[in-house]
Amino acid sequence: MRSAQDMMSGSQGNAQGHEHSTKTVQFISFRVGEQEFAIDIMAVREIKGWTDTTTLPNQEEYLLGVLNLRGTIVPIYDLRCRFGLGLTVATRSHVVIIVSVLDRTIGLLVDAVSDILTVNSNEIRPVPEMEKSVSNEFLSGLITIGETMVVLLSLETLFAQRPSEDASAVAA
């Protein structure tokens, strides 16, 4: 799997890439609240409608629980909540994007999947230094599509630190 960061460096590109440094890369874009995000299409395994999960006890709030993906137990994360924007009230119109990240298969609950974006790697702009906002270390770049700014997410960074178990509360 390649990360958006890898692609930004222009070291790799998609099959349809031009020569030189302007390689095209593909992303899946989706909406969480008012914001458009995008992740590397290579990380995406499938996209499915929301189904009820089984809650894992004593976990971070943004971990909605686990569901059965053809025999595999897959944890589902609420991206809205992960960004500190509160829990999503999931309905059947919400979407779970199943991705592979750091050798794990996980699901991301988002409001809706928007598009498949094919962009030149040189169109990806760095995220400006921000004062303090939504934990911007997960953000690996910005793309402009028409009028819309799309934020590239680095799943590796987002899930690099496995969710803590809140061990203090369950002192053994």
Partner: protein, 732 residues
């Protein structure tokens, strides 16, 4: 030397392979050697043992493990003489062989772990082996392998001035039968220097008399080279018995030119033609293979492949085929449902269910292996431990062919090792004590396995001293494990040996060690989803019974409900469930509740509180208490809303995609496709109630920063199940 040009990585890899192989070979060798103690081994057996030792020697040579080479060489020499009948099999020889096997295993282990062992570790047994060989060779000299001098003459062949050689090469008629080609030899000689070749064709018969595959030509070469005579001889090394070869010059070296110079020239294997043992017969015995393979249960191979009886795989494939067909039928019937109103579909479902169950059994069978691989390690252990303690112990095993899941087998080795050590150390008395007690000097330990339902039952019984309850109780009181005025039944006293850190031996020995006791064994067994029991009669002996599920892949579970959630409790840990009377439930100062049952107080643990589940029953007398027992024998009352039912579930790991969750040992998928969590009793017992607000209807979490969204308190809105695929990307 031999590995000079392998890279370090390759060498490490080869080494790892070698030691894996050693583990298999030693296991195989040991079981065969053990058999020799009771019955005479046939040539097939002896060959197998010989091959094992031989392979170990070969590998050890490759890795420069000199000590291992030396010892296995002697061992191998003895086995060789044994199989060609120069040494007769008797009890004494068998005993020495078994000891030699133990030593070999220890040397391999030491080599693998880079462990230091005493310089004279193998001396005694090696001397015994040599002794046998000397006896057999009439006491005149040491055995051949030892007597063979090392040939070093060719190892020093400095480059020197050009010398003229005259080489006469007259092949025998059968030269070509070994696929040798004189032209290649000539070409090689040519590379050495200036070569003049004279061919003698005088022996060529008339065409009619000519055998097309015979050699008729001979040659004389004149070679000017700076190479040694030995080098030239080496060119002819493969043909030098198929020809008359004469290399003449004033070269002073002894010309053998074999490239095995630095190898001891051991003549420790007879020519197959002269030995019935290696008679060139084709013995294809596929049936023997799985049994042999099954012995590869060493821990280091935990991830190794599993070799399976072909018939089982065939059956599996057939079953899957049936499943596919039934499924297709079912699909068709559902399409046709308009006419038949689903009656057929229901029948199809039933067939599918039956097939699926069978399929599951087949898949399980693939992982099943006989416990033999663990049992056969025990004779060596018994000999070692008994030897150290100066006790005489006879180990009897039954039911080695009893099959159990491979993963279970691997986990069985440690507890069994520990328990057998314990039986010898604490159970079996020294011979004088035994005789004084009117028992035979030799103690007996019986290790047996059998299937009971979906469990394997393992007994370890000894005819030793039995549990001294008086002493045990006294010690338990000293250690504060029980109160001095406790009134315990015999069974309860016996159970104390499983108490943590309990050691009953009057003296702590280096055999059973200090601190690590039966509590660890019990924990291991419980970790396998099993139970352990002890029965003992003072002065007569002790019997341990292990009851372990056949597989770790499935679990007999009880589905319990707590609020909106369903959990699985392992059936093996459940003692009973009951709805207490309100009066049975008491508050304890400082928090916590207990329930009294038959005069005993049991701590109550609310699943809904530990796991922060909304909407659960908070009064045990309205719900249920499930009484469970932990590995350490503590009882715990788990408060749930209701029992849903008993079900065999397939265990799925959470850890593939997630971190461990306290209180949860795994997950499974219920009939409706939803995930249910399997409870970890041990962890539950140690967990405290997490949140005070479990009664609040909602999934409020105290551990998060302030919520920005007021919708947050009801995350799981009621949404119908049923995936709504919108867009499929990537692999499905």
């Amino acid at each position: 030397m031999s590995d000079s040009s392998f890279g370090a990585n390759e060498l490490d890899r080869f080494r790892a392979t070698f030691f894996e192989e050693c583990a298999e070979l030693i296991a195989d060798m040991e079981s065969r050697l053990s058999c020799m103690l009771t019955e005479t081994a046939d040539s097939e057996e002896l060959n197998a043992i010989f091959r094992a030792v031989h392979s170990i020697k070969a590998g050890a040579g490759a890795f420069g493990l000199k000590r291992l080479v030396t010892f296995s060489h002697t061992f191998e020499a003895l086995l060789d003489w044994l199989r060609d009948g120069r040494i007769a099999q008797d009890e004494r020889v068998a005993t020495i062989l078994v000891k030699a096997g133990d030593i070999l295993a220890a040397l391999v282990e030491a080599a693998q772990q880079g462990k230091e062992i005493a310089a004279d570790f193998e001396t005694e047994i090696a001397n015994e082996l040599h002794g046998l060989l000397e006896e057999a060779s009439g006491g005149t000299s040491t055995h051949r392998a030892k007597a063979e001098p090392k040939s070093t003459s060719e190892s020093v062949t400095p480059a020197k001035a050009t010398v003229d050689y005259r080489i006469s090469f007259s092949p025998h008629a059968e030269l070509f039968r070994h696929a040798n080609e004189p032209l290649l030899l000539i070409k090689e000689l040519e590379r050495f220097g200036t070569l003049h070749t004279f061919c003698d064709t005088s022996k060529l018969p008339s065409l009619a008399a000519m055998e097309p595959e015979d050699a008729y030509f001979s040659w004389t070469f004149e070679l000017s080279t700076n190479r040694s005579k030995a080098d030239i001889a080496e060119v002819f090394e493969f043909v030098d018995q198929d020809c008359i070869l004469d290399i003449s010059e004033s070269a002073e070296e002894e010309a053998f030119g074999l490239f095995d110079d630095d190898e001891p020239k051991a003549l420790n294997e007879p020519a197959p033609d002269s030995s019935p043992a290696v008679a060139p017969t084709i013995e294809h015995k596929p049936a023997a293979e799985p049994a042999q393979k099954a012995q590869s249960g060493a821990k280091s191979n935990a991830n190794a492949t599993i070799r399976v009886d072909l018939a089982r795989i065939d059956r599996l494939v057939n079953m899957v085929g049936e499943l596919v067909i039934t499924q297709a039928m079912l699909a068709q019937q559902i399409i046709d449902q308009g006419k038949d109103q689903g009656q057929q579909a229901i029948q199809g479902h039933e067939d599918l269910a039956v097939l699926t169950r069978e399929l599951q059994e087949c898949v399980m069978a693939i992982r099943m292996q006989p416990v033999k691989s663990v049992f056969q390690r025990m004779p060596r252990l018994v000999r070692e431990v008994a030897g150290k303690l100066n006790k005489q112990v006879n180990l009897v095993t039954h039911g080695e062919q009893t099959e159990v899941d491979k993963t279970v087998i691997e986990e069985l080795a440690d507890p069994l090792t520990h328990m057998i050590r314990n039986s010898i150390d604490h159970g079996i008395e020294t011979p004088d004590v035994r005789i004084a007690a009117g028992k035979p000097a030799e103690g007996k330990i019986v290790l047996s396995a059998a299937h009971v339902g979906s469990n394997i039952l393992i007994h370890i019984s000894d005819d030793g001293a039995g549990i001294n309850r008086e002493r045990l109780l006294k010690k338990a009181i000293e250690k504060g494990i029980v109160t001095p005025n406790a009134n315990l039944s015999d069974e309860e006293i016996d159970e104390l040996i499983f108490a943590p850190g309990f050691s009953t031996a009057a003296a702590v020995t280096d055999v059973s060690g200090r601190g690590v006791g039966m509590d660890v064994v019990r924990r291991n067994i419980v970790g396998l989803g099993g139970r352990i029991q002890v029965q003992s009669t003072f002065g007569k002996g002790t019997r341990f019974t292990l009851i372990i599920p056949l597989t770790l892949a499935v679990l007999d579970g009880m589905i319990v409900a707590s609020g909106s959630e369903k959990y699985i409790l392992p059936l093996t840990s459940i003692i009973e469930s009951f709805r207490p009377d309100k009066s049975q439930v008491r508050e304890i100062t400082g928090g916590g509740q207990v329930a009294s049952i038959r005069g005993e107080y049991v701590r109550l643990v609310y699943l809904c509180k530990i796991f922060d589940v909304p909407g659960a029953v908070l009064e045990p007398w309205k719900g249920l208490v499930v009484l469970v027992e932990t590995a350490s024998g503590n009882k715990l009352g788990i408060v749930v809303d209701e029992l849903i039912g008993q079900q065999q579930v397939v265990i799925k790991s959470l850890l593939d995609n997630f971190t461990p969750v306290p209180g949860i040992s795994g997950a499974t998928i219920l009939g409706n496709g939803r995930v249910a969590l399997i409870l970890d009793i041990e962890q539950l017992a140690g967990m405290t109630e997490r949140r005070r607000h479990a009664t609040i209807d909602g999934r409020l979490s105290g551990s998060k920063p302030a919520l920005l969204d007021d919708q947050a308190s009801q995350p799981h809105s009621d949404v119908d199940d049923g995936a709504l695929p919108r867009l499929a990307v990537g692999s499905r």
